[in-house]
């Protein structure tokens, strides 16, 4: 297992290199000019040109790419064109809100979605199943920002229960931290809950048809034990896979959610950087996200061995 994990970690290096080349090339050919944004509307073309030269953006592709890779090899993500701050420190400033949002969403999702899927499978074909699946279709269909606005209106403006926006670091207390994350996590979690509830239901339905479940019933085992101990464990592989894939959804969804709830996370940093063509920041974030994806995939593969002892690497 350790050798496998090491092999997988090492195999991320060429993946990251390809991602780096792809991202850099994409940004190089993309239209837009950060120098024009910096110079502002009143600047002359000569001013824009001089700013571009100072930023090194007038250099040929290979020179720019070479110097970026050289810095990267020294664990330096570069400096933001706009803020003049190191990209690493900008990411560090923003990572806590995004991780917090993702973690709360993930916990909320698993707590809600898995039992819903199990119950829907158990009560398959009944009105309970239909209600849960209708909720899943709704959750999957309504955009995150619509859910966000509705939640903010009801729980913040109408009933004054939770704040509309912002983020409080965990270091300032658990409740201040959590209260800023409840509405965004519910908004972001809707799609995710719907997805996992549906997958859980489908996986459980298949497992519940198995002979050993019938045997368990014949032995007089309680329904809860059958569902959550015997069936759920055997249905876990596809659920774990979707939870992992869903992290991609969470990162994408975080971009919108962070904008709607004014959370200063990586999602908003990404949008801001793209709109301004802040190349070093975009490159740094994309590399980070790629690394997270690779890491999550590795963790999923390792988790398989825990839920299904037959799987060995």
């Amino acid at each position: 297992m350790l050798a496998y994990a090491l092999r997988r970690v090492l195999s991320t290096l060429p993946v990251m290199a390809i991602v780096a080349l792809f991202v850099f090339s994409l940004l190089y050919i993309a239209p837009g000019d950060p120098a024009a944004v910096i110079a502002g509307d009143q600047a002359s073309p000569a001013d824009v040109e001089r700013i571009r030269a100072n930023l090194g953006l007038d250099q040929p592709f290979l020179v720019q790419f070479g110097s970026w890779v050289w810095r990267l090899l020294h664990f330096d993500l570069g400096t933001s064109i706009f803020t003049n701050l190191p990209v690493a420190s900008m990411i560090a400033q923003r990572i806590e809100p995004t991780l917090s949002l993702m973690m709360v969403t993930l916990v909320l999702t698993i707590i809600v979605a898995v039992p819903l899927g199990v119950i829907a499978a158990w009560k398959a074909g009944t009105w309970i199943d239909r209600v849960i699946m209708a909720f899943a279709v709704f959750g999957f269909s309504v955009p995150v920002f619509v859910v966000g606005y509705i939640l903010a209106y009801v729980f913040a403006l109408k009933f004054d229960l939770l704040p509309v926006q912002g983020y409080t670091p965990l270091a300032q207390g658990f409740w201040p931290w959590l209260q800023n994350l409840i509405l965004p996590a519910v908004a972001l979690g809707c799609v995710y809950i719907a997805l996992i509830a549906r997958i859980t239901r489908a996986a459980m339905l298949e497992v519940l048809q198995q002979d050993y479940i019938r045997t368990a019933r014949a032995k007089g085992l309680g329904q809860g034990g059958i569902l959550f101990i015997h069936a759920l464990k055997n249905a876990a592989v596809p659920i774990v896979t979707v939870v992992g894939i869903g992290i991609a959804l969470l990162i994408g969804g975080a971009v919108v959610t962070e904008s709607v709830f004014a959370i200063p996370g990586l999602g908003r940093l990404t949008i801001d950087a793209i709109l301004r063509r802040d190349y070093p920041v975009i490159q740094g974030i994309v590399l980070l996200f790629s690394f997270v994806y690779v890491l999550v995939n590795l963790l999923i593969d390792i988790t398989y061995t825990l839920v299904d002892p037959r799987i060995r690497y």
């Binding site: 000019d33 509307d41 600047a43 926006q165 709830f261 063509r277």
Partner: protein, 533 residues
Amino acid sequence: MDRRTVLKGLAGAGGLALTGIAAPAIAQGANARTLRFVPQANLANFDPIWGTQYVVRNAAAMVWDTLYGIDDKFVPQRQMVESEEVSSDGLTWTFKLRPGLKFHDGEPVLAKDVVASLTRWSARDPMGLMLKAIQNELTAVDDTTFKWVLKQPYPKMLFALGKGNAPCAFIMPERIAQTDPFKQMSEYIGSGPFKFVKGEWVPGAKAVFEKFADYVPRDEKPVWLAGGKKVLVDRVEWVIMPDPATAAAALQNGEVDWWENPITDLVPVLKGNKNIGVDIGDPLGNVGSFRMNHLHAPFNNVKARQAILMALSQEDYMRALVGDDNALWKPLPGFFTPDTPLYTEAGGEILKGKRDFAAAKKLLEEAGYKGEPITCVVAQDQPITKAFGDVTADLLKKLGMNVDFVATDWGTVGARRAQKTPPAQGGWHMFHTWHAGADCINPAAYTALRANGDKAWFGWPTSEKVETEITNWFNAKSLDEEKTVAARINKAALDDVVFAPTGFFLGYTAWRKNVSGVTKGPIPLFWGVSKTA
């Protein structure tokens, strides 16, 4: 005790049991001393000479002081300067700094700091460049006196030093001002009424300014950028909110105190809230612009440009932008900001009255237009340009033009508009933008009105008449003379169609009623603003 407090208590108790981390109590007094402000845009950089975006200028005006400041009559008043003297030939200006000026690091403001700051500023600012071109020397005479010797008189000297248009002539310590004007500085030390708290700056999310205890305000009443800048709060927090609906909800919920520019659609909701005040923010508003490329056919022919003016309905553009709120727009048959001294409608008949499509089509024909695609580059991520672009597409179609509508984002427009190549090779025929009314009160900072061909703003218009009159304005010695010249500039710019003005529009600002002292001005003014709990 409200519901949130109860919930906070219950959940806080639970959280405490779980984590052992206590939620800090927020003192009422501290809350009342902190003003939370939602600015128009993200403060992505903080060098007001290197980056000239309005949001940078607005934040910079809190941190850096200027030698002069314009008041609401557009007259430059002394700010850091105690006195000035100009020689009888108008060539030598001698300025003396007022006593007690101090930078945020405790160092006194000296004449050498001013000289370095003006040198950096004059490399980037249009008026500064003019001064630099006629400069003999700019020197510090002693610690509090500096001298600017010119080769020819420059009657607009005080306006140049006090104007609010970006880049403003902000004064910085010499070591910082020695930074290349085309490179970003990394220290944000000023001598203005607020200190910038760099440690709390999260670009894209938050910027914090603290009251500078050692700032000595002037005795005069504050008026715009002039007068005594007395700070009545301890701290101003800029909270960046990209989503207007969130900003509106946060203001209603009391999570922020002042929102610089609420969008028109949400203003009725804010006006309906008894805790919120809403009024026009910047009385100088904005001038909408439809910019044509003078280098390429058909708009290299003045008749094609005049055809656009003849058919263009400013009301259509303004309604697309502000809806039915008539308080927010005015027709603008000219280029200068309405209700300012140089405003004129001379030559503006072409933009007034019923739109004449038949005559416009005839002019297009005379200009040789034969249905070639017209590349209209429209930024969809800016509500203003998106609205203008939709109206223009409709207008061009009505004129029988073949529209190549390039829907893109502002970043791309910013790069593409700099291309002089033919539209089919990555260039363009037209794009939209807008200019702050403060930049359009006179020709000083009105880069978009210049018509000096290759050196002009995007579109590169050429008009000898316009350029001659702009030079005459710079040399004008009285307001009456300036007004006469402005009328001639307006007419010449309309005759040659430097660009097509799409109307004058204003925006609201909104604040919670426990905040007082919010005044109308060309930028958000934080001095004189106070807050109760």
